[in-house]
Amino acid sequence: MLYIKCPYCGLRAQKEFSYGGDATVKRPNINEEVPSEDWDNFVYMRKSPRGKHIELWQHIAGCRQWIKVQRDTATHEIFQTAKVTEEIR
């Protein structure tokens, strides 16, 4: 079971969180014309990298905040966590 540092609550067990997918995908702006290829990429296309990956998790059984987690998909090592408004490099 992973040990995830919620930027609001501190280190908590994985079972308090739910996974939310790739954090680097950006939704096209609302009320703006979007080329259909861009839209399809946003909806359907995801990378499945081996290694470092920035992903979204929600602290559903805690503060309910969505957070960013930089995790190694092969070893599960977590390098960094951040608020969604913060950058992970």
């Binding site: 939704r27 703006e32 979007v34 259909s36 839209w39 979204l56 929600q58 969505w66 070893t75």
Partner: protein, 998 residues
């Protein structure tokens, strides 16, 4: 009642307390502190089971977790447990143990015929033999294999015991209380660290209990006792015996299995049987020690053959002799300690040492005591079927591949030692790649992967001095980093015997023309020849050899067989062992009970039960409940001997004719507040929300980004910046997360807050033509006319002195209202409604009637919004705005969503107007068409239309709208029904929606 193999004095058992038990029906006794194994051996019983494949007689081989043979069916404290390790299970009064895998008895086992047919059971036997014909598998082969391969019998009784889970955090977890573990725990405790020390056995001390050593002039055992009592007195230390750390998981989480009360005669009903500990440790010391490995020889599985250290442990811990005429067969010095222990107890051993004559501290001591030592010797084959009677021994030539002399010697036990294998399972589970240490012919941990540090024998250090030093240093350094405190501890003076070098020898050759079975893995009956066959047949990877032969795959995880198996493969393949590699270690290290894994999450505690505030009323009025997620909802209220069908028909009909009330508390409710709330709703829903006035409700539809319908419900504007959203019962949690996602990540600039209020409000729907009359009685001071409270209107008013919200919304298609009061007032509201409703023919209705009402109206719900439908599929495209953007809008333009023949919702009625159409039925053109019969759609919801008094269904059908008036077949292979149906409009009742507005 005498115990022929019990020593008079030795041992740590309590001789003042006799414990009686039975084995295969025979009444026996042992002492408190015995295991089943030590008590049976004390009684001279060695034959305890039959082997897995050949049903060969098997006895005890080890004295702890390494035991491959002695797995018993044990009954105690009113339950029966299979595959119990007899070398670990402590004796309790009244325990009853029986042998497994034998029939009719362990002494006469019919399956033993396999032993004489063993040429038919080589490696891969099951794979090869049971392949053809395929049709034989389920009916003939599988039941046969299951019967033949059975171990114990799992109980079918309900487990009455209590199991617990515990979550714990510590600075340092120490796994094993041998010398290095004790030293680590002690040093860390002195630095002020929060320490957990876990010991698998009932007694602390590990090898200190059996080795002839002294520390600071105390015996090993006394020193261990002293350290343990000091640790127990420290508030920052938790000391646990009977506790096996069996798994090392991600982020330094270890899981421990504590056997809390199986050894107790009496316990309170709240004492758990076993406890599972989830331990998040900052640092972990792996002081798991090492396990002796055997040397392979002919018939080496005969009862009476032991690991040499186990034989010593039986003498020193339990005061039990494994035999009175022992042969000690070794390639190293440690077995000499066993020989000396026998000698001390006036038993004369013979030592067979595969090494050439040489000298060491222990060899010299054995010589000086007059022990018969034969160098360059080994056991070729053990004689005796159910117990060792003698052994054919041989003098090895210089190359150790043939014999210079062969003779037979009498013996009643053989104690074998092929050197020591560090227990690296936890290190390996942590992700540590192991490395092969030539010096000890075994794998030890390599570079750290998590926060694990292996010390002592687990790290390949086999001397006491090194183990203690290792333990003190690592315990001190690791904890000092956490606590910032370093207490100097003097390393104690150690007195131990120096061991000479071991012989890199692991398997006895066979003389010409002799071919006895030489077992590598006892528990799975894997012999040298099985591994040879696997390699001959082309299996190369050790993981494949393992699976083909089943080497190391039994419940003992190959603790005594893995390395010998690797040696064999490396010899035949002419590779060195590290090139062969090792198989993967996986948790759990020892078998653990399912009860422990489940813990308290059984029965009512399996998941939370959500009950509405009116639940008790429903119960008292014969409601039959249905699960809606965690909620319990009344499905129908049973009157007399009514069936579900009759009751739901009555309830639905009463709503159409009079009025009914339904508990709708379970609907998801979300409070939405903030100056940008309208803008937010406008983006979330497909329809327009900017102009909804205060005091009005609107039906809304939300999509996922891929255009698929996510949920529907009504949202009401309570005040300028305050909305009350409802969701379906099932989607409540998902919708909240969805809203939070967009507010926190996508549009953080919107000033909006959302919070779930589902459990704050109790809700009741009042539906039916007489609902307005009833409402006016419930709110005598309120104008509830169609003008004052029109369809989709909203009012706040006192309900008999209690604040309430009135929504004029309808799911049934009838004139209807929904009243919300604070949860605490839910029961009050419901009872008032029942009281006032009497004059109007009011009856409560459940989810079954609710479904009937919505289906015949053509209102969609979960079965239609199944994650595959877009708004136009379910005739909701009128709710999709063309003027504004919203979540999922861009996807609706996709080509596949806009083809003319796309699936659409339709209604179905049976041609005979009688046969109910099973939900899930497929719609086909021709019921006799060749398979696969093209599927035109499926039946999503079915009911008995109370309005038209015949069955009616909703279906999602290809090109649905153009199919109206045509006839098809609805086929349900599950129900074995085929029904001819006609396609009609999905709005079967009141298609213009006049009633809701009346």
């Amino acid at each position: 009642m005498s115990q022929p193999f019990r020593l008079n004095k030795e041992g740590l058992i309590n001789r003042n307390k006799k414990i009686s038990f039975t084995f295969n029906g025979k009444k026996l006794f042992g002492y408190e502190g015995d295991t089943i194994a030590s008590a049976l051996i004390a009684n001279g019983i060695h034959l305890v089971g039959r082997s897995f494949k050949y049903h060969r007689p098997r006895g005890f081989f080890g004295a702890g977790v390494e035991e491959p043979n002695a797995k018993l069916q044990v009954e105690f404290n009113g339950h029966s447990e299979p595959n119990v390790n007899a070398t670990e299970m402590e004796l309790v009064e009244g325990l009853s143990a029986t042998s497994q895998n034998c029939w009719p008895s362990v002494n006469f086992d019919i399956g033993a015929i396999n032993n004489f047919l063993k040429m038919f059971f080589p490696a891969g036997f099951y794979y090869k033999t049971f392949m053809w014909p395929k049709s034989f598998w389920y009916k003939i082969y599988e039941p046969f294999i299951r019967k033949a391969a059975g171990l114990g019998v799992a109980s079918i009784e309900k487990d009455k015991e209590r199991y617990e889970h515990k979550f714990e955090y510590c600075d340092l977890l120490v796994t094993g209380s041998g010398p290095s573990g004790l030293a680590s725990a002690y040093a860390a405790a002195k630095n002020g660290a929060k320490v957990i020390l876990a010991e698998d056995k009932p007694r602390f001390g590990g090898t200190l209990l059996t080795d002839d050593v002294s520390i600071d002039n105390l015996s090993g055992k006394d020193w261990a006792e002293k350290i343990i009592s000091e640790l127990k007195s420290m508030p920052n230390v938790t000391v646990k015996n009977r506790s096996q750390v069996f798994g090392y998981y991600d982020h330094n989480m270890l899981v421990m299995f504590e056997r809390v009360s199986d050894h107790l005669e009496k316990k309170s009903k709240f004492t758990p049987r076993q406890r599972l500990w989830y331990i998040r440790a900052k640092e972990t010391i792996l002081s798991t020690g090492s396990i002796e490995r055997p040397i392979v020889f002919g018939n080496n599985d005969t009862p009476g053959i032991f690991l040499s250290a186990a034989a010593k442990e039986y003498m020193k811990v339990y005061g039990v002799l494994v035999g009175k005429k022992p042969l000690i067969f070794t390639n190293n010095d440690s077995a000499y300690e066993t020989a000396l222990e026998f000698k001390k107890n006036n038993v004369e051993p013979i030592i067979l040492d595969t090494r050439e004559e040489h000298s060491s501290e222990l060899i010299d001591e054995a010589k000086s005591k007059g022990i018969d030592i034969r160098f360059s010797h080994g056991v070729i084959v053990a004689n005796g079927y159910k117990k060792v009677k003698s052994a054919k021994i041989g003098k090895l030539n210089k190359d150790k591949n043939s014999f210079e002399k062969i003779e037979t010697v009498d013996c009643d036990c053989i104690c074998v030692s092929g050197f020591w294998t560090p227990s690296v399972h936890l290190a390996s589970q942590s992700g540590n790649k192991l490395k092969y240490e030539e010096k000890i012919d075994a794998f030890i941990p390599d570079k750290k992967k998590q926060h694990e540090t292996s010390v002592g024998a687990a790290n390949g250090s086999f001397t006491l001095e090194e183990s203690l030093k290792n333990g003190f240093e690592n315990g001190s350094n690791l904890s000092a980093k956490i606590t910032d405190t370093k207490t100097e501890i003097a390393i104690p003076n150690v007195n131990e015997k120096k061991y000479g070098a071991h012989d890199k020898f692991w398997c006895m050759p066979l003389p010409k023309n002799e071919n006895p079975k030489r077992f590598v893995d006892f528990q799975n009956d894997v012999s040298v020849s099985d591994i040879e066959i696997a390699l001959r047949e082309g299996y190369r990877s050790i993981e494949h050899v393992k699976r083909y032969t089943t080497l190391g795959m039994a419940t003992d995880q190959g603790r005594t067989s893995n390395l010998n198996g690797l040696q064999l493969v490396s010899n035949i393949e002419n590779k060195i062992v590290p090139e062969v590699g090792h198989t993967t270690f996986r948790p759990p290290f020892t078998p653990i009970t399912i009860g422990t894994i489940v813990g308290r999450e059984v029965g009512m505690e399996y998941m939370p039960t959500r009950k509405t505030p009116m639940h008790e009323w429903h119960e008292k009025n014969n409601a039959v409940f249905v699960d809606a997620g965690a909620w319990k909802r009344p499905r129908y209220y049973k009157l007399g001997s009514e069936t579900l069908f009759e009751a739901s028909k009555r309830e639905a009909k009463n709503v159409r004719e009079n009025v009914g009330i339904c508990d709708v508390t379970t609907l998801g409710k979300i409070d939405i507040k903030g100056p940008d709330a309208a803008e937010f709703l406008n983006r979330v829903y497909t329809n327009a929300w900017m102009k909804l006035p205060v005091g009005k409700a609107r039906y809304g539809l939300m999509l996922r980004e891929d255009g698929i319908v996510m949920d529907d419900g009504t949202t009401t504007r309570i005040s300028e910046n305050h909305y009350h959203m409802t969701t379906t019962t099932a989607q409540a949690a998902n919708v909240l997360s969805h809203l939070e996602y967009y507010l926190q990540i996508v549009w953080p600039e919107l000033n909006v807050n959302v919070v779930s209020t589902t459990e704050q409000w109790a809700g009741a729907a009042i539906a039916g033509p007489k609902s307005r009359d009833m409402l006016s009685k419930l709110y005598p001071d309120l104008d509830v006319s169609n003008e004052a409270l029109p369809f989709m209107g909203y009012k706040e008013a006192e309900f008999f002195g209690v604040p309430s919200r009135i929504f004029r919304i309808s799911f049934s298609g009838e004139l209807a209202y929904e009243i919300n009061v604070k949860s605490d007032h839910g029961m009050f509201m419901w009872e008032k409604m029942m009281e006032v409703g009497k004059d109007f023919g009011n009856q409560p209705y459940g989810t079954e009637a609710l479904s009937t009402l919505r289906i015949e109206m053509g209102h969609v719900a979960g079965p239609e919004l199944d994650g595959r439908t877009i708004p136009s599929d379910v005739s909701l495209n009128g709710l999709v705005s063309k003027k504004k953007d919203f979540i999922g809008k861009n996807s609706l333009g996709r080509e596949a969503f806009n083809v003319e023949s796309r699936q659409k919702i339709v209604g179905l009625i049976p041609i005979d107007r009688k046969s109910s159409i099973p939900e899930g039925s497929h719609i086909v053109q021709d019921q006799n068409a060749k398979l696969p019969n093209p599927k035109l759609g499926h039946v999503s919801s079915s009911c008995w239309s109370v309005e038209n008094n015949n069955p009616f269904s909703l279906a999602i059908m290809k090109d649905g709208k153009n199919m109206i008036g045509k006839k098809f077949f609805a086929v349900s292979p599950l129900k074995n029904k085929t029904i001819e149906v006609e396609v009609i409009s999905s709005h079967y009742v009141d298609p213009e929606g006049k009633r809701v507005r009346s």
